[in-house]
Symmetry: C2
Subunit: 322 residues, 2 copies
């Protein structure tokens, strides 16, 4: 690393990133090599790392505020799936050669807004330059009650499959963002995830297994089934769609493949025992999030999709991993 570049790094940190660490004692103002997190023995520390790359995970001309929010929120979505309340994060920012201070400023404003929104503080990180596209890796930290963290494994035969919010908006929104259709609502759902941070922590003691919908509903429900050594059955007619998505698949039924197989919804899929149904509905109400019962877990393996009780053809399944 050249001296000149490092000089810039120190200035950038002082001007744009140190303010994001203010008030978080263990960050030591980003002036030491390390961050120090004082543990609370009541909780497990929940940790998630995600990377987003310009041109791969976000559009290269995306606003820096949105890039910041997306990079952070994809991690927060995973923490929510784990039942955790987020509190801090580390930022590894590799800046492409054409970066401007204006971009950094917008990026830092985006982080600041989400820090307020989700109750976070920056605890440390690294800023480098890259001859490639701007790349952001975030490692986010949350708390969950000791040994109560939720994972993909743990679903039992007979558990119900539930999902939060609406499915498919982001995949259709990506088509919209690329000019394939017109819908400000869908495009926004793709550009700016809304992680279910209010619902996730309320699932502890309610759901037996969870995942966030980042690979697509079929894939992520399938991950729970695989990890739990079960099959999952999904009734397509029960999958909750937004009015916009309903309109799209009504006119273009092949786009059901995108709805069920596309990623980036950042909703939660959950395996919930029948006797916890009322508890789930109460949790969802308290969280201000809709939940829908879309299927169940059974002996066997794989993902089984039905429409009004009839198995439907695997063309739709081609988008999944198995």
């Amino acid at each position: 690393m050249t001296r000149r570049e490092r000089l810039g790094e120190f200035e950038l940190i002082a001007r744009y990133f140190a303010p994001l660490a203010k008030g978080f004692r263990g960050a030591r103002g980003l002036k030491s090599d390390n961050a120090f997190l004082a543990p609370d023995p009541r909780y497990d520390l929940v940790v998630k790392t995600d990377t987003v790359v310009a041109g791969v995970h976000f559009l290269v001309d995306e606003k820096p505020q949105i890039v910041a929010a997306k990079a952070l929120r994809v991690c927060l979505s995973d923490l929510a799936a784990g039942g955790a309340v987020p509190f801090s994060y580390q930022l590894a920012l590799s800046l492409g050669t054409n970066w401007t201070e204006r971009w950094i400023s917008g990026f830092a404003r985006g982080l600041a807004a989400d820090q307020r929104r989700y109750g976070l503080a920056l605890s440390g990180g690294d800023t480098t330059s890259t001859p490639g596209p701007t790349t952001i890796s975030i490692t986010a930290f949350g708390h969950v009650a000791r040994n109560k963290g939720l994972g993909r494994d743990g679903a039992k035969e007979g558990d119900e499959l539930w999902v939060s919010g609406t499915i498919g908006d982001a995949a259709l929104g990506l088509l919209a963002a690329r000019g394939g259709m017109e819908s400000a609502f869908l495009e926004r759902r793709y550009r700016l995830p809304q992680p279910r941070t209010t619902l996730g922590p309320r699932l502890v003691g309610v759901a037996r297994a969870t995942a966030d919908v980042s690979d697509g509903l079929l894939a992520d429900a399938g991950h729970i089934a695989d990890a739990s050594h079960l099959a999952v059955h999904i009734a397509r007619e029960c999958v909750p769609l937004s009015a916009a998505a309903r309109g799209v698949v009504a006119t273009k039924p092949p786009l059901w493949a995108n709805v069920l197989g596309g990623g980036d919804d950042y909703e939660l899929v959950m395996a919930v025992p029948r006797r916890k149904r009322a508890a789930l509905q109460a949790a969802a109400k308290a969280a201000g999030v809709n939940v829908a019962h879309i299927g169940h877990f059974a002996r066997g393996k794989g993902v089984h999709l039905t429409l009004d009780g009839r198995a439907i053809r695997p063309a739709t399944m081609g988008y999944t991993h198995f």
Copy 2:
């Protein structure tokens, strides 16, 4: 992210990365979205993130085992400076388009070897592809006794400045790697850092402030001075050099600038009160690392270099941040 790429990601994780998480319960076999770290209330969790980019921080044709070791060790060096014993890490791996399974396999072997060497387990991460150069961000975790973590601030007027090992080998080794000179020893010192993980934790209660030498001796001693609101005085004749480096600067004195201003030594610089000198020497002996007394902290600001008692010209200082 395309389905095809994600398929590859799942296979890569199962084949090469899940074995690195084996035995670390909170990693859940890398099959859940999150890692869960159970806190020990006797310790603070020490966290450090570093990014290395192909062609910027390592040579593009570097062996993947060496790349893995370097990416991990630059973080371990920071943890050592904090007084922490490392135990786990998160890996964000963005693979350039020309990656091969052979490269990944070598990279994973390099991680495995260093996991054994330093007592680490992989706890989670993210694998993506990038149209740019391969980029690796590691967030490493260590433990230090509660509230005992070392930082750059805390040096007091009159404290002695000490440094571990030898200085300048890496900067000269970079010249060697680029073909500017011939020295297998120096080149190895550049390619493969040896973080002072045995010394760092022994500095708790001995040193008042520490940093690792990653930006260069003058710069990193200067960071301690700045953070401690003091000046630091360094006697060049006391700076410990390897036999190879001594030979180089004897024939090419201008390369003193590289020795004192070049980075990547991954030694430790320490502010140590005089009454702790014997404790430091005992710690160094137990750690199997040499330490040298090279200067002191005083009222004022900045970095002041002397040679046999005379201030020497600031041309040498041009490589630092201030």
